[in-house]
């Protein structure tokens, strides 16, 4: 059979044109060029956008801090990206943000909720209850959408794969809605309580959902042990911003390198917050607006009525207050709580009800080898214990049941424990 060659009549090629050997290569060059162009665009555009911060008038650190403190941004809506890399020990069964698989599915978030949290108060373990959901933010990458209109109306939406988790506050009502399990959670806020801002402790900073709250926490802690400086300008979410650097001073054992806060030049609203670890690498916490709008959010954003067929859990206001204190590192039901040292090197001492280390001594070796997997044995004047390490927060669990937690190195913990033992 006769071959039909590509030079057969086609409108875009002259009839009977001789086949040039290079033509095939040229044509294959088209897809290659497209790939190259795309790669260049993806790679270069952010790089070009990053070159050099905007030109802004100089400010001193004090002026900038005052600006942040005085920022009265009451109306705002935007998207916040949270990236956390705490370096938590890998636990079996924990799923990353990418773990939904091709089917997506709602409930993968629920599996991350620690089961101990649910068993604690017996009832009120609705999948829509905020405890476990906010803890999710302590690992991986998450997208939040926030809207606020004054201190009484706020909304935070945790964007998940084909699902969403919302916390909506409108006046005295606080609702949480989980679309994956189609369940809602409701409580009454005390009239005086203005959001989470005044409640968060230093350890609770992962629960602070906007860069502003995170920045305020750090600035509040700024005293003699902290240096505050301005480090140039940057563009965040398309807006001009100053960079404020808060770094620990005279704290040899701290694991924190610095906290960087990008402050919007116009409104004084912090737009980005990163916490760097002394050991380097990616920021431990990176909270930033990817887009932000200081206009009034539409009023409908804060209306919530539980839809028909939704499981609604009513929580008592006490439960709600208890939830604010829930911390990722807190041992269940500590009997006592002391702060040793001050500033960045401070260590919290808790008395755990059961001695964790002692239990495994006489237990089977399998449990101990598993414990060895993510802890490290240390000993000192306080006795023997084990250290659980993350990139910033380390914890020392002694055999006699004390727990030392702090943003300090292992040596710092041992030192603090020794000092406590001498007393």
């Amino acid at each position: 059979m006769a071959q039909i060659q590509p030079s057969s009549p086609t409108p875009d090629e002259p009839q009977g044109a001789p086949r040039k050997p290079g033509r095939r290569a040229v044509r294959y060059g088209v897809p290659v060029a497209v790939v190259g162009l795309t790669a260049a665009t993806v790679g270069l555009v952010p790089a070009l956008a990053d070159t050099g911060g905007p030109d802004l008038p100089d400010v001193t650190a004090e002026e900038l801090v005052a600006k942040v403190a005085g920022a009265e941004t009451d109306q705002l809506s935007g998207t916040v990206k949270i990236k956390t890399d705490l370096g938590l020990p890998e636990l079996p069964g924990s799923v990353g943000s990418d773990g939904g698989g091709p089917f997506g599915g709602g409930p993968d978030g629920e599996s991350e909720a620690p089961s101990g949290e649910k068993g604690k108060d017996g009832e009120g373990s609705s999948p829509a209850a905020p405890e476990g959901r906010l803890m999710q933010l302590a690992s991986g990458e998450h997208t939040l959408r926030v809207a606020m209109d004054g201190p009484e109306r706020q909304r935070v939406s945790l964007v998940e794969k084909a699902a969403e988790y919302n916390i909506i506050r409108n006046g005295a009502d606080v609702w949480a809605y989980d679309s994956g399990s189609n369940s809602a959670w409701h409580t009454k806020a005390e009239p005086g309580a203005h959001g989470k801002a005044d409640k968060g402790s230093k350890e609770g900073k992962y629960a602070d959902l906007t860069p502003r709250e995170a920045a305020r926490q750090v600035l509040k802690a700024a005293d003699g042990t902290t240096s505050v400086s301005v480090d140039g300008t940057a563009k965040v979410a398309g807006r001009d911003a100053y960079q404020l650097v808060v770094a620990p001073k005279k704290a040899e054992h701290t694991t924190v390198k610095d906290a960087r806060i990008s402050v919007d030049a116009k409104t004084g609203t912090p737009l980005k917050f990163t916490l760097g670890a002394r050991e380097g690498g990616n920021p431990v916490v990176d909270v930033a607006y990817s887009d932000v709008d200081f206009g009034k959010p539409s009023a409908g954003s804060f209306d919530f009525k539980p839809p028909k067929g939704t499981d609604v859990t009513e929580a008592k206001p006490e439960d709600h207050r208890g939830e604010q204190k829930a911390k990722p590192d807190a041992a269940p039901g500590p009997e006592s709580f002391d702060i040793l040292g001050e500033g960045w090197g401070s260590v919290a001492k808790l008395k755990a009800p059961g001695a964790l280390g002692a239990g495994s001594e006489d237990g089977d070796s399998q449990a101990e080898s598993m414990l060895d997997g993510f802890t490290e044995k240390v000993s000192g004047e306080f006795g023997d214990g084990r250290v659980v390490s993350t990139r910033v927060v380390n914890a020392l669990l002694t055999d006699d049941g004390a727990v030392y937690v702090g943003a300090v190195t292992k040596d710092g913990l041992v030192e603090a424990a020794n000092a406590a033992a001498e007393k």
Binding site: M1, Q3, I4, Q5, P6, S8, P9, T10, P11, D12, E13, R23, R24, R27, Y28, G29, V30, P31, V34, V35, T38, T79, G96, D98, G99, G100, G101, P102, F103, G104, G105, G106, P107, T143, R145, S157, V159, K161, A162, A163, E164, N166, I168, W175, Y177, S179, G180, S181, N182, A184, S290, G300, S301, D303, F304, K305, P307, K308, G309, T310
Partner: protein
């Protein structure tokens, strides 16, 4: 023209719109296509009946997205069904149609007749691609309609609760369902181009279909390997589930736009690769 009329496929070449039209008719007249569409239509029915039977337990937890909302609103069967068929079933049918588009003609010996006519290889390829994209939309529409009918028959319908907890009237929910279906169909365009490229590589329709579907499976499996997470954003199914972002209030466009951008890049890259291959190769069958 007399030369063309002697060819069995002559009616195909009556002019540009007719060319595409006959290509589409050819695709949908195949028993294979009809069977695939029937299977796609059966999925929402099966899901709906299964959920209906299970309703006594107070709704199912887990499984594909949106499953728990179906009992409250039949419209959610549309979203649940699309989420269920999107990872494999739906693209598999697209892979079969795309893989067969050129290679099938070559395998049955009809490609050479198509090329004798003065339609041009570039145009022939464009028409093949267009017909495949039309199939993407048709297949999605079949799932949408089957799910809608099943949902309305088996479950209550009414105001729709969006993912954000906002309630919108049923009409707006329906509109969003249409937008979701369009987004799903557009999600398949990149894969359709990939299938077309594979189709130009071989003279065997079966080989092209198997390769295309095999590629789909491989990429979907790669997408679940956490160690390859740096590659994931460049795999064509990576943003497929972003259609759900249309059900947020306000709509969250990030993932959708990224999905459409990725599909466009795939379409251009593999479309031009198919063109480079098809316009320079010797057709022997």
């Amino acid at each position: 023209m007399s030369q063309v009329e002697t060819v069995p496929q002559a009616p195909r070449l009556r002019g540009a719109p007719g060319f595409l039209g006959s290509e589409i008719r050819l695709t949908f007249r195949r028993w294979r296509t009809v069977a695939m569409l029937a299977v796609l239509a059966a999925v929402p029915v099966l899901v709906g009946v299964a959920v209906r039977i299970q309703t006594s337990d107070g709704g199912a937890a887990g499984g594909p997205a949106f499953l728990s909302q179906i009992t409250n609103n039949g419209l959610f069967l549309v979203f649940a069904s699309l989420a269920a068929v999107l990872p494999f079933f739906l693209p598999m049918t697209v892979g079969v149609v795309a893989g067969d588009s050129v290679a099938g003609e070559a395998g049955s010996g009809t490609l050479r007749y198509l090329l004798v006519a003065p339609a041009g290889r570039t145009r022939l390829l464009a028409v093949k691609f267009a017909a495949t994209v039309v199939f993407c939309f048709a297949a999605t529409a079949v799932v949408l309609l089957a799910a809608l009918v099943t949902g309305v028959l088996l479950f209550p319908v009414g105001d729709v609760t969006l993912l954000s907890g906002t309630t919108v009237p049923f009409a707006e929910g329906l509109l969003r369902a249409l937008a979701v279906a369009a987004a799903v169909a557009l999600s398949l365009v990149g894969f359709a181009a990939l299938g077309l490229f594979v189709s130009t590589l071989t003279g065997s329709g079966i080989a092209a279909m198997a390769t295309t579907v095999g590629l789909l499976m491989t990429v979907q499996i790669l997408g679940t390997v956490p160690q390859l997470s740096s590659v994931h954003p460049y795999l064509f199914p990576h943003h497929w589930l972003s259609f759900a972002d249309l059900l947020r209030d306000p709509v969250y466009w990030d993932g959708l736009l990224r999905n459409f951008g990725l599909q466009a890049v795939y379409a251009v890259v593999f479309g031009s690769a198919a063109w480079a291959r098809f316009t320079t190769r010797d057709i022997t069958a």
